[in-house]
């Protein structure tokens, strides 16, 4: 069963709907013991980075960290990806999971923020998540903070300079865009994650 982690922020219906469409056994849950037993974990995130503090308080963070330690595949979406890093300028006092080093930062003032709409990626061909997807697909973004390009970056996007659109390391995956809202390409990515 794929656990879609609910920490009380935002709308998880779209992610559930996409996994249902792919015929996956999945459930939205806020229960740490359900997350601990899941075969895969998806953490959708919308809204403010500070809201992720609920993950630590509810025991969900420990369940996620434990599962990751056992090699359970994990996918963070949007703020869910940002939470995989150490911290964010959006809420410096809120620690992230820190499975990746670095800090989420603001967009430079020269571009409108939030970054909303379809933008094009440059994908590293070694990515497992992007297996069988074109090298420069369009995907749907909506976010105000971003992860700088680093060692784990597998897809870059340019908006006021290049940033990490996707990160990947072993069975840890993060996407800044919304695969559940990115048409056929997004469904293909989710299908790739589901068949890991």
């Amino acid at each position: 069963m794929i656990a879609i982690v609910d920490y009380g922020a935002g709308n998880l219906v779209s992610v559930k709907k996409a996994l249902d469409w792919l015929d996956q056994d999945c459930a939205i849950t806020s229960d740490p013991s359900t997350v601990a037993k899941a075969s895969k974990i998806v953490l959708p995130g919308v809204g403010h980075f500070a809201a992720t503090v609920a993950l630590a308080r509810s025991g969900l963070q420990d369940a996620i960290a434990g599962a990751i330690g056992r090699g359970v595949p994990f996918l963070g979406i949007c703020v869910g990806m940002q939470w995989m890093f150490e911290r964010s300028q959006e809420s410096p006092e809120t620690p992230g999971l820190a499975v990746f080093p670095g800090e989420c930062e603001r967009f430079p003032a020269k571009v409108k923020s939030p970054h909303v709409g379809w933008n094009q990626l440059e994908v590293d061909e070694s990515s497992r998540l992007f297996h069988d997807v074109s090298a420069s697909p369009f995907v749907y973004f909506t976010h105000s903070f971003r992860v700088p390009v680093g060692k784990a970056t597998t897809a870059c996007c340019d908006y006021g300079g290049s940033f990490s659109a996707a990160v990947e390391q072993d069975d840890l995956f993060g996407v800044q865009f919304h695969p559940e809202k990115s048409g056929e390409i997004g469904l293909k990515l989710l299908a790739n994650f589901c068949t890991l």
Partner: protein, 255 residues
């Protein structure tokens, strides 16, 4: 590069799309769910469903319509029309909408913007502004209730306030151009787009590809919305996008 979005709008009355449609191979051209899917497949970057039903009919049909449309839609899906409270917004989100659009309710009580944004994030709140040029021709007034009621508020000021209260996007309809096919009101669009930092979706007046070129260039729009042109003017939104691409407008392609 961030692309300019082409948004297909479905005006729905009591569960049926009201503007005539001419999609080929569509068994039921009045079914919002079937049309939303057809638009998505023909290249729309986003779907907006506006419920124009009378209030007493709305509750019964809207959620079912949203649920059926959302089940097979994997691009952003905005729902608007008569959403007045956080509770109503919650129901529409639960039915599968990604964003909700508020107009009259926000004019009546702007705190509704903040309340919905606090729960679902600013990216999920679109403030729709129906703007009509004032007699001085230099300003625009925001109207509520489907353009029937004057709010006596300046549309540009209202857009700024909506942004400060937590709106994630502005859906800006020119009442002067709506339904005319004479082109978007680029002056209105540019004035609002330059006054806020959030994306502005231009609406009202689309009649041909050049109108989109104009509103993305001269009008500084981030996205453009149309309804009937996608039913009559172009058999496929992809054809419009191809034309825009050839004129140097960045669009999602192939779509």
């Amino acid at each position: 590069m961030l692309t300019k979005r082409i948004i297909a709008c479905l005006d729905v009355d009591n569960g049926r799309v009201v503007k005539g449609v001419q999609f080929l191979n569509l068994q039921d051209a009045g079914d919002p769910a079937a049309l939303a899917k057809a638009h998505s497949e023909s290249g729309a970057d986003e779907i907006v469903l506006l419920d124009i039903s009378a209030a007493h009919q709305r509750r019964a049909t809207l959620l079912d319509t949203v649920r059926r449309a959302a089940a097979q839609l994997f691009i952003p899906f905005t729902v608007g029309g008569g959403i007045r409270t956080l509770e109503e917004a919650v129901a529409v989100f639960s039915a599968g909408a990604d964003k909700i659009s508020v107009n009259s309710a926000a004019l009546a009580d702007p705190t509704v913007i903040t309340r919905i944004a606090a729960r679902f994030g600013s990216q999920a709140v679109v403030v729709a502004i129906d703007a009509k040029r004032r007699p001085d021709l230099l300003h625009w007034e925001a109207f509520s209730h489907g353009g029937r009621t004057s709010s006596d508020r300046d549309a540009v000021e209202w857009a700024r306030e909506a942004e400060s209260r937590g709106a994630g996007e502005i859906l800006l309809t020119s009442m002067d151009r709506d339904g005319t096919a004479l082109g978007f009101d680029c002056e209105l669009t540019r004035t609002v787009a330059d006054a806020v930092r959030i994306p502005v979706i231009a609406s009202g007046g689309a009649g041909g590809a050049q109108h989109f070129v104009d509103v993305f260039g001269e009008g500084h729009a981030d996205a453009a919305l149309a309804a009937s042109i996608f039913h009559y003017g172009f058999s496929r939104i992809a054809d419009l996008k191809q034309e825009l691409g050839s004129q140097g407008i960045p669009v999602r392609w192939p779509c």
